[in-house]
Symmetry: C2
Subunit: 161 residues, 2 copies
């Protein structure tokens, strides 16, 4: 079944906060996100990959205006749980390709990665769902990334919403 | 605005494949997912967090029946690009909480993490979108996780679809 790519979206108003070397045991993710939620900070992406040596990294994105507040909480939690330093970066853009049709989800993802790779755009983070492939890249490549992805995936026959 | 949690879903038919220490430069994600897509392997989650020392880990999930095929490709790519060993694990379950309403997304995520943490369930991976919080846990906790999340988030007033 063909995948219908319905569009390329991007969000430049995001900053990422990474808490490194979070002990990989129950309850740790809650230690970070309970205060984040209590402070009313809006979170978009949360990404955590598997831990390999008893610890793992936790990254989440917030509106850039909330960077300092989020970093302060992450740094405090880091001290409390013995994690590594928390760090933030605001010069990022989240680019998402929305598609319909599960069977070729891997195909859409592969095309997203190939298209960006061909332009020399490094993919900092990847998070996918059944209908969406999202990547985080350096904000300076925003226009280029959106254009080449649109041309490749939407421009040659895909539908636009 | 309140978040309406519409349900808790789970998928036990997933295996994760992790390619460790992938060089964090343009084109590498494509090197893995092009052959994966070409072999017709259905991919659900793709998770990659930020690289911190020039490399990062790439994890993706496939139906358990495709574990060997996916691991073979990942191992081959690993050799070609100088990444670390590829590994797989099938005893996992992806649990997703679907909610509507962005403002309290962090609140839903925090509640998911707290609820699982309280039961001693370790969260191996996290991937979120605007409407969904997905975690990967050990498959042996499937029934417990779904029950406690449902009771906490859907049982006390949330809507079920
Ligand atoms: C790292 C963090 O996610 C931890 N594994 C937890 O379950 O809370
Ligand atoms: C690790 C991998 O995602 C790499 N950064 C790339 O852009 O392909």
């Amino acid at each position: 079944e063909d995948v219908l790519v319905s569009g390329v979206a991007y969000d430049r108003d995001q900053a990422k906060i990474t808490l490194t070397r979070v002990p990989d045991r129950p309850g740790l993710a809650a230690r970070l996100f309970s205060p984040i939620a209590q402070q009313g900070i809006v979170v978009d992406m949360i990404i955590q990959n598997v831990g390999l040596d008893g610890s793992t990294d936790l990254t989440f994105t917030v509106p850039r205006a909330d960077t300092d507040k989020a970093l302060e909480i992450a740094s405090e939690v880091s001290r409390e749980v013995g994690a590594g330093a928390a760090r933030s970066e605001g010069d990022i853009t989240k680019v998402s390709v929305v598609g319909l049709g599960m069977r070729n989800h891997a195909g859409v993802a592969a095309q997203v990665f190939e298209t960006l790779g061909r332009e020399g755009i490094n993919i900092q983070m990847i998070s996918t769902s059944e209908i969406k492939v999202s990547v985080v890249i350096d904000a300076k490549y925003t226009e280029l990334a959106v254009r080449v992805l649109h041309d490749k995936l939407v421009g040659d026959g895909g539908a636009t919403t």
